[in-house]
């Protein structure tokens, strides 16, 4: 089977970055590309929601939400006891791995599309649902439910972060406008989607490469964790998919969501809520190890695991 070209763009970025080529995209373009991806993913989910009653999905949402709480609780003891990280660092990393990465999601979607495998179209809803619980878990693990944490201000920053607003906004617009009417904007959001993803991954490759320096400082445990924990998470995701009776495509998507680690929403939240935790530690793991692993090897691997378990 041919490699998906979007993955080749990631490998190009990674290689160029490791060779220290001078070619970062302007951050305005990075943001532009990610805005298009987020809205497009939201719109697709919203169009689907407009076709089925929302209440039917509530049990699924509850189950996925539960997974969002469980995953960081699984990661924390490994990091704290086995990895001997400081409590705040262990919690922060756990928060990153309990949450999700939209870029990884998009690659899995592209992977399944190129194989012609369908998946439950309300998957973007799960993407939204999984962003937040792990952040709460991370904070509570360090602070308890103490009043010191400004939950009001914090929940504002979490729920009104760019990715959540654009995903939910896209969902809502797709839902309200419906399939027919959204076609008029497909020239911006759907037709160039894979090309946008390709450019986005080129930049992500460059960013991931820039994390490698830090990687050397933090040693082997982080490297191992960044590869092995996602595989464990993917099995949890597949188990959830079996429980929810999702299709095999849905299982791959949920496995990927579980296996992916946040590199935008969670770092920002941790910097404010747990400033004593070391931001380069978690970012190195999530961006420098897990993201490349998932893009290049993880997604097909989760597909194989899902096929084996289904």
């Amino acid at each position: 089977m041919a490699i998906d070209p979007v993955v080749l763009f990631f490998i190009l970025g990674l290689t160029a970055g490791l060779m220290r080529a001078e070619m970062r995209l302007p951050s305005a373009i990075y943001e532009f590309l990610s805005v298009i991806l987020l809205i497009a993913i939201g719109l697709k989910g919203g169009i689907e929601l407009s076709k089925q009653p929302f209440v039917d999905l509530l049990p699924d949402i509850a189950a996925v939400l539960a997974m969002g709480f469980i995953l960081p609780l699984l990661a924390f003891p490994i990091l704290y006891y086995l990895g001997r990280f400081k409590k705040a660092d262990a919690a922060s990393i756990a928060g990153h791995y309990g949450s999700v990465s939209v870029g990884t999601y998009a690659v899995a979607a592209s992977y399944l599309a190129s194989l012609g495998i369908a998946y439950e179209a309300h998957m973007p809803l799960f993407l939204v649902v999984l962003e937040i619980p792990a952040i709460i878990v991370a904070i509570v693990l360090v602070r308890g439910i103490s009043k010191q944490t400004k939950w009001g201000q914090l929940s504002h920053e979490i729920f009104l972060g760019k990715s959540i607003v654009l995903l939910i906004g896209g969902l809502a617009i797709g839902w309200i406008a419906g399939e027919e009417s959204i076609k008029s904007i497909s020239g911006m959001f759907f037709d160039p989607f894979k090309g946008v993803l390709a450019l986005f991954l080129l930049e992500m490759g460059l960013i991931a490469a820039s994390q490698v320096g830090a990687l050397k400082r933090y040693g082997f445990f982080l490297l191992g964790f960044g590869i092995i924990f996602p595989i464990i998470s993917s099995v949890v995701g597949i188990a959830a998919a079996l429980f929810l009776e999702l299709s095999i495509g849905g299982a791959v998507m949920l496995a990927t969501l579980a296996a992916s680690a946040s590199y935008i929403a969670v770092p920002a939240a941790m910097r404010i809520a747990l400033p004593e935790s070391n931001p380069t530690l978690s970012l190195t793991a999530s961006l420098g190890i897990t993201f490349p692993f998932n893009i290049i090897l993880g997604v097909p691997l989760y597909h194989q695991i899902a096929t084996a378990l289904y």
Binding site: S27, E31, I207, A268, I272, T280, L283
Partner: protein, 100 residues
């Protein structure tokens, strides 16, 4: 034209703190400041990534000496230990204008 001696406080810190510091300055009664985006190197290593709030901002505040001490101590207490932050103070003269 008559000129007045003031202090110029310059702060270089994480861009993620921008809105928090704005709120702080407001509460400290400081209603004038100038911000530019910056990158740089310090004890926390290189900081130059804007895609994920990993860049810096550089804040300038022209104020009297007392305010300069207040803001300096405030920032030292609340942010110095947990955030990348550098701060220095110098002498400037300002025109008597509508602003001071």
């Amino acid at each position: 034209m008559k000129q007045y001696s003031m202090k110029l406080v310059t702060i270089v810190t994480e861009s993620i703190l921008e809105h928090h510091l704005e709120d702080d300055l407001d509460k400290l009664g400081i209603h004038g400041y100038t911000i530019v985006d910056a990158r740089g190197k310090g004890s926390e290593g290189m900081r130059d990534d804007f895609w994920s709030n990993q860049g810096n901002i550089r804040i300038e505040i022209v104020c009297d000496e007392k305010t300069s001490d207040t803001v300096t101590e405030f920032l030292y207490k609340h942010y110095y230990s947990d955030y990348a932050m550098m701060l220095y103070v110098s002498d400037v003269s300002v025109l008597r204008g509508k602003k001071f």
